[in-house]
C-alpha cells in the first residue's frame, strides 16, 4: 500500500515537472514568435495552452482506466460548467428576461433597460416560486402544480407539432409515383440510365420509400403479434431500419473522427508545435 502511494507520488511529481517545463518552454517559444505581445502575455498564453493540453490528456487517460488525473479533470469540468450555467441562467433568464418586464426599480438596480409592466411574466415567476416550494417539507406538494403545468403544456404543444410534421406531412410525402415518367417498356429500356437523377434511379428510390415506410410502420404496430405476412413485413421493416442505422452510424462516426482530429491537432500544433 505504502509502495503504491510512493509510486503515485513519484508519478505526480513527474507529471507536474513535465508540465511546468512545458509551460516554460512554451512561454519562451511564444516570446520568440512574430506575434509576440510582451513577456507577461507570453507567460499567460503559455499557461493556458499547457493547462488545456494537461486537461485534454487527463480526460484521454480514461481510455486506460479511471485515475486521479481523470477525476481531477472531471470534477473541475463539472464544477466550472455547473457554476457557469447557473450564472447564465440567472443573468439571462431572471435578469435579462424577467426583471425588465416586471419591475422598474429592479431594472434600475440591475442596470437593464425597463420594458414596461407585462403581466404575462408573472405566470413564470409564480410557477418558479411554486417550484421552489419543494424545499419546504410541509408544502412541498405545491411544487407538483408547476411540474404538471410544464409537462402538460409541452405535451399538448408537442402533440400538434408531431402530428403536423411526423404524421400529416409524412403521409402526403408518401404519395409518390412508382413509375417516374413512365413512357412504356420500349422507351424505358432504350433510355435506361443509372444516373441518380435518371428515370430508373427515381423509380427505384420511390419503391424503396414506399416499401420502407409500409414495412417500417408495421414493425411499430404493437396491437398485433408479428406472425405470418405481418411478421414478414415487420422483418422487412426492421431490415430497412437497420440499413438506415448503419448508414447513419458511418456518417456520424466520421463526424466524431473529425472532433478527435481537432483535439489531436491542438496537442501537436498548438501545444507541442510539431506540425504547422
Amino acid at each position: 500500500m505504502a509502495n503504491s502511494k510512493r509510486i503515485s507520488a513519484i508519478i505526480l511529481i513527474i507529471v507536474i515537472a513535465t508540465f511546468l517545463l512545458s509551460w516554460i518552454i512554451k512561454a519562451f517559444n511564444l516570446e520568440g514568435s512574430p506575434n509576440n505581445t510582451g513577456l507577461w502575455f507570453s507567460i499567460r498564453d503559455a499557461f493556458f495552452i499547457t493547462i488545456a493540453a494537461f486537461l485534454t490528456l487527463a480526460i484521454f487517460s480514461f481510455l486506460y482506466k479511471d485515475n486521479p488525473y481523470y477525476k481531477f479533470a472531471e470534477h473541475l469540468f463539472v464544477g466550472i460548467s455547473a457554476a457557469y450555467w447557473m450564472c447564465v441562467g440567472f443573468w439571462s433568464t431572471l435578469i435579462g428576461n424577467l426583471v425588465p418586464n416586471i419591475s422598474s426599480s429592479l431594472s434600475t438596480f440591475f442596470r437593464v433597460p425597463y420594458k414596461g409592466l407585462h403581466f404575462t411574466y408573472f405566470v413564470p415567476l409564480i410557477l418558479g416560486i411554486i417550484l421552489l416550494m419543494r424545499l419546504s417539507s410541509k408544502r412541498g406538494w405545491i411544487s407538483r402544480w408547476a411540474l404538471a403545468w410544464i409537462v402538460g403544456t409541452t405535451s399538448g404543444l408537442n402533440l400538434i407539432r408531431y402530428l403536423r410534421t411526423d404524421f400529416i406531412s409524412q403521409v402526403s410525402n408518401t404519395f409518390i409515383p412508382l413509375l417516374v415518367d413512365w413512357k412504356g417498356v420500349g422507351p424505358f429500356f432504350s433510355h435506361f440510365s443509372l444516373s441518380s437523377t435518371g428515370q430508373f434511379a427515381m423509380t427505384l428510390s420511390n419503391w424503396v420509400i414506399f416499401i420502407g415506410v409500409f414495412c417500417g410502420l408495421i414493425y411499430f404496430f404493437f396491437s398485433k403479434e408479428h406472425k405470418g405476412i405481418f411478421g414478414t413485413a415487420s422483418r422487412v421493416g426492421i431490415w430497412v431500419l437497420m440499413i438506415t442505422f448503419g448508414a447513419s452510424f458511418g456518417y456520424t462516426v466520421m463526424g466524431r473522427v473529425s472532433l478527435l482530429v481537432g483535439r489531436l491537432t491542438y496537442l501537436f500544433r498548438d501545444w507541442l508545435g510539431l506540425i504547422s
Binding site: I150, R164, F220, S248
Partner: protein, 408 residues
C-alpha cells in the same frame, strides 16, 4: 534640334489630352443619355392584410414594370415604401430584385422595437421601379389605406385540427374501453422484458442500478416517456431493496424524476427507503455531464445501466463505458442518429416509438394502454391514407394530396 522635338512633343501632348478628355466626356454623356430614360412604373399595386397570421404584416402584389426584362430593360429592381399618410413621408421597407411582383411587409410586434408595425393602423404603400442610375426611377400610384390585424383561426391548418380531433376522440374511446375491462393486446417488447431481469441481477450482485434520463428537458416527449419507465424501475428497486442512481442533466428534469422515484417508493410500500440523493443534478454542460456519469459507472460499477430519453453525441460514450464496466445495458431513444450507437453497445435497445410503447406495456394502466392503442389506430389510418394517396397520385389525381397541404 532636341528643343524643337521636345516642343513638338509637348504641343502634341497638350493637343491630344484635351481631345481625349473631351471624347471621354462625350462617351459618358452618351451612356448617361441611354440610362436616364425613365422606366414605366409598376401597375395594379394592391395591399391586403396577410392571411392566417398574428398580425403586424401586410401582403403586397403588383404588375412588374413593362421595362423589367423587356422594353427598355432598364429596371434592375424594386423598392417598397410605406407611409402612415398618403403624402408621406415614405420609408423604404424592402429592396427586391427585378422580376419581383409581390412582397410581404412584416413588422415587429413589440412596441419597443424600431420596426414596430401597429395593427388596425392605416398604412399607404408605393413601389418604386429602380434603374442603374439612382436618380432615375419611377413610382407607382400610392395604394391605401390598408390595415393589418391578427386572425384567431388559421384556416391553413384545418387538416391538423381534423386529425387532432380524430386522434383525441379515438384515444378517449379506447381509454374508456380499457377502463371498462376490455383486454387490449400489446405485443411483447424484448427490451422492456429485460428490465425486470436486469433489476433481479443487480439485486443478486448487490450492485446499484444506474438510470440515465438523457439530455432532454421535462418538456421533451422522450423524457416524459422515460419517467413512466423510471417509475416502474424505481418501484421494483424499492421492492428488491436495491440501490438506484439517477444523475440528471436538467434541474427541472431532476425535480420531476425525484417526484417519480418518491411516488414509486411510496407505491411499493417503502416510503422511508427513499433518499433524495438517489436523484441528483450534475451539470447542464453536455460533456461535463458525460464525464461525471462515466466516472460514476467506473467507481460504482452498477450491474445495470438504463438509458431512456433524449440523447445526443454522448450516447456512444456512455454506452461504451457501461460495456467496459461490464454492466447489462438497456437503452431507448427517439433520436434516430443515436439509435445506431445504442444498438452496437447495449444489450437491448428500444427503437423510437417502442420507447413510448414501453411505458404503456410496463404500466398496463388503462390510460396508457388506451393511448397506445390510439397510436396504433393512427398508424393504421396512416397506411390506409398512404395507399389511397399512392393510388391517386399514380393515376394522375392530385386533389387528394392537396387535402394534406398545411400552411405555416
Amino acid at each position: 534640334m532636341k528643343l524643337k522635338i521636345l516642343s513638338i512633343f509637348c504641343s502634341l501632348l497638350l493637343g491630344i489630352v484635351p481631345l481625349a478628355i473631351a471624347q471621354e466626356n462625350a462617351d459618358t454623356a452618351s451612356v448617361d443619355s441611354t440610362a436616364v430614360a425613365s422606366p414605366a412604373p409598376v401597375s395594379q399595386l394592391t395591399a391586403v392584410d396577410t392571411d392566417n397570421d398574428h398580425g403586424h404584416s401586410i401582403s403586397l402584389k403588383w404588375e412588374p414594370s413593362p421595362d423589367d426584362g423587356a422594353g427598355l430593360k432598364s429596371v434592375i429592381g424594386y423598392e417598397v415604401y410605406r407611409a402612415e399618410s398618403p403624402g408621406g413621408p415614405f420609408v423604404i421597407r424592402a429592396a427586391l430584385p427585378s422580376g419581383a411582383s409581390s412582397h410581404i411587409d412584416v413588422g415587429a410586434k413589440e412596441k419597443e422595437s424600431g420596426d414596430y408595425m401597429a395593427d388596425y393602423t392605416d398604412y399607404y404603400y408605393k413601389v418604386r421601379a429602380i434603374t442603374a442610375d439612382s436618380l432615375v426611377y419611377s413610382d407607382s400610384d400610392v395604394f391605401g389605406p390598408v390595415q393589418c390585424y391578427g386572425q384567431w383561426f388559421n384556416t391553413g391548418r384545418i387538416p391538423v385540427l381534423v386529425f387532432v380531433i380524430g386522434f383525441m376522440c379515438t384515444t378517449i374511446l379506447l381509454i374508456q374501453k380499457a377502463k371498462s375491462g376490455a383486454k387490449l393486446f400489446v405485443r411483447r417488447l424484448a427490451g422492456i422484458e429485460a428490465v425486470d431481469e436486469a433489476i433481479g441481477r443487480a439485486t443478486e450482485m448487490g450492485k446499484p442500478i444506474l438510470y440515465v434520463l438523457g439530455l432532454g428537458t421535462a418538456a421533451d416527449i422522450a423524457t416524459i416517456a422515460s419517467y413512466t419507465i423510471l417509475g416502474r424501475v424505481a418501484k421494483k428497486v424499492a421492492e428488491y431493496q436495491t440501490r438506484l442512481i439517477v444523475p440528471c442533466y436538467d434541474p427541472i428534469t431532476m425535480t420531476v424524476a425525484q417526484e417519480t422515484v418518491k411516488t414509486a417508493y411510496a407505491d411499493a410500500g417503502r416510503p422511508d427507503d427513499y433518499n433524495e440523493d438517489m436523484v441528483y443534478f450534475v451539470t447542464q454542460s453536455q460533456f461535463a455531464y458525460v464525464a461525471a456519469v462515466n466516472g460514476t459507472m467506473l467507481r460504482e460499477r452498477p450491474a445495470t445501466n438504463i438509458y431512456m430519453g433524449l440523447f445526443y453525441a454522448e450516447s456512444l460514450i456512455l454506452a461504451e463505458t457501461g460495456a467496459l464496466a461490464g454492466s447489462i445495458q438497456i437503452s431507448g431513444t427517439d433520436q434516430i442518429a443515436q439509435i445506431p450507437f445504442f444498438i452496437v453497445a447495449c444489450d437491448y435497445t428500444l427503437i423510437g416509438e417502442e420507447l413510448y410503447a414501453a411505458s404503456a406495456y410496463l404500466g398496463r394502466e388503462p390510460l396508457l394502454l388506451g393511448s397506445l392503442k390510439a397510436q396504433d389506430y393512427a398508424k393504421a389510418a396512416f397506411i390506409v391514407l398512404a395507399v389511397i394517396g399512392f393510388l391517386t397520385i399514380n393515376f394522375g389525381i392530385d386533389w387528394f394530396k392537396q387535402l394534406f397541404y398545411i400552411s405555416n
